[in-house]
Amino acid sequence: MEKSLRFAIIDDDQVYQLILKKTFEKSQPAHSLMQFYNGEEAIDFLKANTSNPVQSLPEILLLDINMPFMNGWQFLEALENLPIAGSYKPVIHIISSSPATEDIEMAGQYKRVSSYIVKPVTKEVLTGIISKAC
């Protein structure tokens, strides 16, 4: 039996969030999904839940780059500075609309980033992410 994974989307595009949520509910009902609309919201959530066991935090992060207030790169740096950074090691996928090489190279500099995915995120992409995580 497949185990249940906790996903989090961090993206400011509300329509994309809506679509991804739909895709998720349809194709991957076994897994849960949290939604944040920019990096700061996600970091605030992680900060507020540091007392919880690490096991209850999202295990897979789908992270956009271009966001107001705190973009994807800034989020990655803020994550590194969290008190729980040592024990909390989620799988992070950069989900960007930009196929620009400089962004891909930038993503390569962060050890926590496991892949760089160019939008759109289809059912097949989601299945791939999940099968890698199991």
Partner: protein
């Protein structure tokens, strides 16, 4: 006579006398006292000569040695008489006794005569104290002599000279220690003859040297001369030899004494100096560079052919002119300034490009290198080198112009690349993103319930509108960059600011903002529409990001700094954390403050408008007490 014969024949006989014990009345004590005392005296008188003999043999070179022997003999004789006295108690050989006494008497008197004869000599002898004093004096003299010798040796070593003495009568030659060192002589080798001395002269010059010495003897005069020497170790040296011929009362030469000094190094240096002087002269005369010596008044002292060719004068004509006569008036001040620095010891030399007039009146560009030669702390003359750079100068000017053009083109290119990169980013994030979303949305809408589908369609419309908006923004910015439809004009800053505040008057009243201005530069040469846009955006940003609870103050200044006009717009609002956002401040759709409905267009547009017209914009903020924008045009 018969008595004497009888005495000799009966010398050892004792029959005529009784033994002494029986002659007179001897108590045993008295007799033995007599006997033992005599025997003790006898043994003592025999021991003393033994000691004297021993003393003489150990201490050699004793004076008065005969006297010692006489003493020894006389004491021994005395001792013998005492022995015979003791023996006569049993063996009364009175004849032998008398003979021994006679011998004793003779030896004693011989000793006395000998002593009397020695008396005057003895009185002339010195006391031991006097002897000691003399010895000390001699020792001191010896030490002094040694010291003097050592000083002489040191002097010879340091001065690299030596001393020789040639005795003409005996033909012997003496060399001082210094001389031996100059010849590199090993300790074992002695030089005592003229022939051996002449061996140090090279074969070819030996005879000549010999003849020279002969001449000196004949003339009774030693002439100072140089000698080429090959030393015992084969080193070649040059000696400077001085001396004198010593004569006796008959004016006959008896001795030659002299000193030689090793001047090899001195000679060699002199040769090197000669050589470098020759090289310099060659370099000076035949150099393709113009070279000259110029006196302190600026007169040419010496010029080479190249300079004459350069200026079209003959050497004689040049020497009648001065440096300044020929210098282009525009370059005199700079040159004189350098000269002053040379004279004040501030610099050792200088190089400058300067113009001269040729004889035909044309101007020649030269590269001048000059330095000042000092003699006894006084400026002596200038050395100047001149290279004709007229042709180079022309090429250089052309190259400089081309370089400037290239630099400008490069700058433009850089600017365009930056903008293309920025557009690429905008297309990736702000157009491709929403477009992808649209496709995904259309894909999914078929699977949705009616209600969900309706919501999704509303969202799709919003996204589409966003795309259109972005496209419009881009169009506007591209137009700015293409500089299309803009004309530069003189814009009165006061009017521009007034127009912006007019548009924003509602917001200004609401925020209760005070705007102060200090405009040193009243008019700006800039496209008016852009300038209005710049002020509108900066002011509306200042109002939007004001600090709650702090009355908003905005200060606008303009001033000239160098060849640039500087405009600043400073507020006391919330500021921005530049450590975090520095890269993004002027980029499209970057939003940093929550709760403000910014589109992220204003500063992007402002930067484009300023840069499209050749200006620069910068931001400064400490993140809490306000923001200052600085525009340099």
């Amino acid at each position: 006579m018969s008595e004497i014969a009888d005495f000799i024949s009966k010398l050892l006989e004792t029959a005529d006398w009784p033994p002494r014990w029986h002659c007179g009345k001897w108590s045993s004590f008295h007799g033995w006292l007599f006997i033992i005392s005599d025997l003790l005296v006898w043994s003592a008188y025999f021991t003393i000569p033994a000691i004297i003999i021993r003393y003489i043999t150990i201490k050699k070179h004793q004076r008065f040695i005969r006297l010692y022997f006489l003493f020894a003999a006389f004491i021994m004789a005395c001792g013998t008489t005492h022995f015979l006295d003791a023996v006569s108690f049993w063996y009364p050989a009175y004849r032998l006794n008398a003979l021994i006494r006679l011998v004793t008497a003779i030896v004693s008197w011989v000793t006395i005569f000998y002593m009397i004869r020695l008396l005057p000599y003895y009185f002339s002898l010195k006391t031991p104290a006097a002897l000691e004093a003399e010895a000390a004096m001699r020792q001191k003299a010896e030490q002094e002599l040694q010291l003097k010798n050592e000083q002489l040796r040191n002097a010879e070593t340091i001065g690299q000279f030596g001393h020789f003495e040639w005795d003409l009568a005996s033909g012997t030659l003496k060399l001082s220690e210094g001389m031996r060192q100059l010849f590199d002589l090993p300790e074992t080798q002695e030089i005592t003859t003229l022939a051996a001395y002449l061996n140090f002269i090279p074969d070819a010059e030996r005879v000549q040297q010999h003849d020279l010495l002969e001449t000196f003897i004949n003339n009774r005069h030693f002439r100072t001369h140089y000698q080429n020497i090959v030393t015992a170790k084969g080193n070649k040296k040059i000696f400077l030899t001085r001396g004198s011929v010593v004569c006796n009362n008959n004016n006959e030469a008896i001795k030659i004494i002299g000193t030689s000094q090793d001047i090899t190094e001195f000679k060699r240096n002199k040769q090197l100096l000669e050589e470098s002087r020759r090289i310099f002269k060659n370099a000076f005369d035949y150099s393709s560079i113009g070279m000259a010596l110029v006196d302190i008044q600026g007169r040419w002292i010496n010029v080479n052919q190249s300079i004459c060719d350069m200026f079209g004068y003959t050497r004689e004509e040049m020497l009648q002119r001065t440096f300044m006569d020929m210098t282009h008036p525009d370059d005199i001040a700079a040159d004189m300034d350098y000269v002053k620095q040379l004279l004040n010891h501030q610099i050792d030399n200088y190089r400058m490009e300067k113009r001269f007039y040729r004889k035909d009146g044309s101007v020649i560009w030269t590269l001048l290198s000059a330095s000042l030669v000092w003699k006894d702390n006084q400026p002596a003359f200038f050395t100047s080198q001149l290279v004709d750079i007229s042709a180079n100068k022309h090429l250089l000017n052309e190259m400089e112009n081309k370089n400037l053009a290239l630099e400008k083109a490069n700058h433009n290119l850089q600017y365009h690349i930056e903008h293309i990169t920025e557009f690429n980013r905008i297309i990736s994030h702000n157009l491709r993103g929403p477009a992808t979303t649209l496709i995904s949305a259309v894909d999914i809408v078929a699977d949705c319930e009616a209600e969900e589908a309706a919501e999704l369609l509303t969202r799709i419309k919003g996204t589409s509108e966003l795309i259109i908006q972005t496209l419009n923004d881009l169009k506007e910015v591209i137009e700015v960059q293409l500089n299309r439809n803009v004309t530069f004009s003189s814009c009165p800053l006061r009017d521009i600011i007034a127009a912006s505040t007019q548009t924003l008057q509602e917001a200004i009243r609401e925020s209760n903002a005070t705007i102060t201005t200090r405009l040193d530069i009243a008019d700006i040469h800039f496209p008016r529409v852009y300038l209005e846009s710049v002020f509108y955006n900066l002011l509306s940003n200042a109002i939007r990001f004001r600090q709650e609870g702090r009355p908003l103050e905005i200060q606008i200044t303009s001033e000239k700094r160098g060849d640039k006009t500087i405009i600043t717009v400073a507020d006391n609002g919330t500021g921005i954390d530049l450590n975090r956002y520095k890269e993004d401040v002027f980029k499209y759709k970057r939003i940093f403050h929550k709760g403000h409905n910014g589109r992220g267009l204003g500063l992007f547009l402002v930067k484009n408008q300023v840069e499209a017209c050749g200006g620069k914009i910068k931001i400064a903020s400490d993140g809490t007490s306000g923001t200052t924008f600085t525009i340099a045009l």
